[in-house]
Symmetry: D2
Subunit: 132 residues, 4 copies
């Protein structure tokens, strides 16, 4: 199974007045990891769009366990947890680099659609091959 | 059951290059509606914090059905779908004002904690009374 | 001179761990006021784009005087401070509603460009007429 | 003169429907570079705050020359352009990695204040020494 991790340094911009990363910003962290997951397949999301596919999010979930804070160096891991027909689900986990404890985890569910008419369409063969 | 709606005009800032509201920004829309839900109870979240309670999000889910776009006037509805012990769940629905179709819906799960030690603590009686 | 004000309630999302609105978020507040300034001219920015003009920002400045905080009800005022050829400058001021003291002020400089080729192009006559 | 650069990959979250990085998000890019500039001085902003100093932004300016886009790998350079008394000015430049052309540039003006009373206060000697 394809699985990648990225590092991310938390800026002030991501925090809120509780002194922790704002809950909505984890979905951007998930996106950053998804982008690199696709790049590691040798097929970036930018290429995917250029060739006629989009992957809008149709569902997202996050479990918040322990807060990430300003200047934390995070490690965000992403992997494909399901690929079936036009559906794709990518799971993400957020930790402080070098620590085992999960700060947050969750997943996004996507649907392959055509950029031409926004209708569900089978995923690009190149990507499927890369995802294994 | 307490239920409120707010209006919100979508700025360019909320959109992404797909020409729609970025998926992570719905969690900020949910927060805007939650804030007004509490205000309508006569007990704002600002007062809640000042009196010693915080309500961190421990889980969030969003279903994305149809995209909101730049300059749309949205109506965001929030209501309490569960309150039991230290748990609180608030559901949110996003529509274009004057239209029935759901653009997105979801909920957030919160835990009442003390601002002093971040430990779970029974919710303020004033808020419980207001939530009915 | 055309001048409008909007109200805006600060969500947690806009704050940072200093307990104040993050400095970058003022540029989104400015945009919200600009959008309503154009709407009040009877010519929304959405229409502007649909008819072939875009107004990218080429320069922005903000003076931060006193911090806005969570749950503040802000009043954001916008007005055209310069319109000459393809240039447009819109000034913005942020205050707490009902208070005189400026929290922040600044301006954005825009250039009318064609959506077809992104080249500078004279502004739509309808908008010029409305701006007076 | 102390000068550092960081790399940054643009996520979808940073873009808007014009297909470019939203103008307000450059101020977050500037912050990311400032954080690393201070780290490279051997004195992170987190330590700075822990020891009693904050560096709120009192003025910010950005010149937008050419748009950054989704998935661009950016190089953001930061350096101190002025340090005098309680004032600090940090300049930032944004380019695509490996290219000379400026996409955006600007600076932020800061004032050293005490975390105890938010009043202007001379900067930490350790930081001054590092800044040279």
């Amino acid at each position: 199974m394809m699985k990648i991790s990225i590092e991310y340094r938390v800026p002030y911009a991501d925090t809120d007045q509780m002194g922790v990363v704002y809950y909505g910003n984890y979905l951007t962290l998930f996106e950053r990891a998804r982008n690199e997951l696709m790049r590691s397949c040798g097929y970036t999301y930018r290429e995917c769009e250029a060739e006629g596919w989009m992957l809008p999010v149709i569902h997202a979930e996050v479990d918040y366990r322990s807060p990430a804070r300003y200047d934390d160096l995070l490690e965000i891991t992403a992997y494909v947890r399901l690929q079936k027909g036009v559906r794709l689900e990518i799971a993400c986990e957020v930790r402080r680099k070098g620590e085992d404890a999960l700060l947050a985890s969750g997943f996004t569910r996507h649907c392959f659609v055509s950029t031409a008419d926004f209708r569900p369409t089978p995923p690009p063969a190149r990507l499927l091959a890369a995802l294994g």
